[in-house]
């Protein structure tokens, strides 16, 4: 192991044997994390504990808040002041954060939220795996808005996707979710951290004019539907509100303005889906059975696909790395080929991802569901593949 020494070093370049939650924290640090506001909750607490030590060492701020509502609001405020900011939670805290997530979406303030899913609903099985917050990540706050959500299937991906999440959040000025699950978060595996100069960091775009040169319109938009972001303390005198607002950021309470604004919040992501989506494919070219899986489940799914191929079944795996936007176009491409006969959607919930597949096809979809606490084995998945 050639781990670099810690203490004061943002990017721990080298090869590590690292816990998923810790890798997530290190990915955030490598991405330039400035501010963490959080509250402990199993199985996400290790993210906070790691950052409580590491973030002050690299000049960032770690703030432990009194609850999850304070946590999410503190990271949105810090981001409004220019910080790359993060919080980490699990199901019960995720639910508490929902109103504020809507505020971030409405004000278009970028932030990254880690949800380490556990068996739910309610207190559930706090120390055991779940994957049942998938739909909540997309629809959890009231109203329509656009977000992105990524699901790592290894500690390495916890690191890599943290960096990607910050870039996506900044690029589109949206909340972005890192949907870990308890298995990945509490798994220890090889994580390779590259040199700092190889880490891609793409920050949010600021106003092109200097403060005072002309009046800054916080929500004036160009072709890409994403306004330039001025931060508190830069001299632009922005006003931001959760009310429906016009270009100036002032409340403008008409149905027409509301419809235009909210459609843009959705379109920002929808029309840029291809740039945001990430998926991993295994043996899909001639597949008759396509498994769609994410997170810990995808590890069993890959083995099931391998075993199925070994015994002669034409089976492939579409592993979702981005859950949202859901890769509709890719699935339609697969369907258009005409070779797919069935889908298998294993998930540690009672059919949340399945609904997205059902929207796109009339083909049979074999469900492998468990409410939480246990993930499917390769054998569980192999059993339904002809």
């Amino acid at each position: 192991m050639t781990a670099a020494p810690e203490g004061g070093q943002r990017v721990l370049t080298g090869t590590h044997f690292m816990l998923g939650d810790h890798a997530c924290a290190e990915g955030a640090l490598a991405a330039g994390l400035d501010f963490f506001g959080g509250y402990p909750i199993t199985p996400s607490t290790e993210v906070a504990e790691r950052l409580a030590r590491r973030l002050p060492e690299v000049g960032g701020q770690y703030l432990q808040m009194e609850d999850e509502l304070g946590s999410i609001m503190s990271i949105i405020g810090a981001s409004a002041a220019g910080a790359r900011s993060l919080t980490a939670t699990s199901g019960p805290g995720f639910s508490l954060m929902m109103e504020s997530i809507g505020l971030a979406a409405m004000m278009e303030i970028p932030c990254v939220i880690v949800d380490v899913q556990r068996a739910s609903p309610s207190t559930g099985l706090p120390t055991m795996v779940g994957q049942s917050d998938i739909l909540q990540a997309r629809w959890g706050s009231h109203g329509d808005y656009g977000i992105a959500a990524f699901s790592p299937a290894s500690p390495q991906e916890c690191f890599d996707l943290a960096i990607h999440a910050f870039n996506v959040a900044d690029r589109y000025r949206i909340p972005v979710f890192l949907m870990l699950d308890e298995v990945i978060a509490h798994m220890t595996e090889r994580v390779v951290i590259p040199p700092a100069k190889e880490i891609p960091i793409h920050r949010r775009k600021g106003p092109v004019h200097a403060p005072g040169e002309e009046r800054h319109l916080p929500y004036a938009i160009g072709d890409d539907l994403v306004p330039a972001m001025a931060h508190a303390g830069e001299g632009y005198r922005v006003h931001m509100t959760g009310l429906t607002h016009d270009e100036r950021g002032y409340p403008a309470l008409t149905p027409e303005i509301h419809n235009t604004l909210v459609n843009r919040l959705v379109d920002k992501v929808r029309l840029n889906a291809q740039a945001i989506e990430i998926y991993d494919e295994y043996e899909l070219d001639d597949a008759e059975t396509v498994i769609i899986a994410f997170g810990c489940t995808s590890r069993s799914a890959r083995q099931a696909a391998r075993l199925a191929r070994a015994r002669g079944s034409k089976c492939g795996l579409l592993r979702l790395v981005s859950i949202w936007p859901f890769p509709e176009q890719r699935i339609r491409q697969l369907l258009a080929r005409g070779t797919v006969q069935r889908f298998v959607v294993p998930e540690v919930n009672l059919g949340q991802l399945r609904r997205e597949v059902e929207r796109l096809t009339q083909l049979p979809i074999h469900r492998i569901n468990h409410a939480g606490g246990a993930m499917p084995t390769p054998k569980d998945i192999l059993e339904v593949i002809p």
Binding site: F35, L69, G70, G233
Partner: protein, 274 residues
């Protein structure tokens, strides 16, 4: 022997501190929130801190609309959550002067947990709590500061609960500067806000305001002016730190004064990032 016109003006000298293109503001005739805004921008101008370094964060309610009228970086956030949003800004950029302006229900009901913890940690915020004794914007519902015996739309039989004594709450939680004034005491209020801006820790300033449209009307208090007169006559300025239970507000017992003043002003170690 007749009245004569004053000089007609089209702008106020403080307009550069305001989003004057949005004036006249939405607040009712006789409401004191505009006065608090005025005291706040006046204090800002005197603070010695450049306007670019002032930030205003508000919650939801009539008081929460204040952020939309001041010409600094301002954020009109969600109900009860202005304080943690403000904290994020203040901790990330400690050179900024962050002021929270919000209402009694926003800060002490739904926002109560954030209030007490920010005070406990003596975070560098100035919190101006405009207490008009009800939830005004939504039509005059009872809240945690509605005095016992008062009427409100959700207390048609009168409020029976004991209301918060906000200065006592802030002090007990750990605030290092605590004051209460009415909007009649404009100079003291402005000075208290200025003191709050200079305090490196948590400052809590309660500003009692008339709400003629809702609280005043439900309690037969007349116009804003009439309601102000009630407060003016009942007010006693504390010239030293009083026992904190004297700061309870009781509008039924006319013999009981409404005590105002600067109650706590101590040097206590403020929050510092590790």
């Amino acid at each position: 022997m007749t009245a004569s016109p004053a000089v007609i003006a089209t702008s106020h000298p403080n307009d550069p501190l305001l989003r004057a293109d949005r004036f006249p503001h939405i607040l009712c005739p006789g409401c004191g929130i505009g006065t608090v805004i005025h005291c706040y921008v006046d204090a800002m101008a005197e603070s010695g801190v450049a306007l670019e370094n002032h930030v205003c964060v508000s919650g939801i309610g009539c008081s929460g609309r204040a952020a939309g009228y001041v010409n600094v970086d301002s954020y009109h956030t969600t109900h009860g959550r202005a304080i943690p949003f403000a904290l994020g800004i203040a901790v990330h950029k400690p050179e900024l002067r962050v002021t929270v302006i919000s209402g009694d229900g926003d800060l002490s009901a739904i926002g109560g947990n954030h209030l007490i913890h920010a005070a406990r940690r003596n975070m560098n915020l100035t919190v101006i709590c405009i207490n008009n004794f009800n939830y005004g914007m939504t039509g005059g519902q009872a809240g945690p500061t509605t005095p016992r015996g008062s009427m409100a739309s959700t207390a048609p039989h009168g409020v029976h609960d004991r209301p918060f004594n906000l200065p006592d709450l802030a002090r007990a939680a750990g605030a290092s500067f605590v004051a209460r004034w009415t909007i009649l005491h404009v100079r003291q209020l402005r000075e208290a806000i200025l003191r709050g801006m200079h305090n490196p820790g948590f400052s809590f300033i309660e500003a009692l305001s008339p709400c003629p449209t809702n609280f005043g009307r439900a309690n037969a208090l007349g116009t804003g002016m009439d309601e102000m007169e009630v407060y003016r006559q009942r007010c006693r300025i504390a010239d030293s730190l009083p026992p904190f239970d004297e700061l309870d507000i009781d509008l039924v017992d006319e013999a009981r004064p409404i005590v105002v003043g600067n109650f706590v002003d101590i040097a206590r170690r403020p929050y510092e990032s590790v």
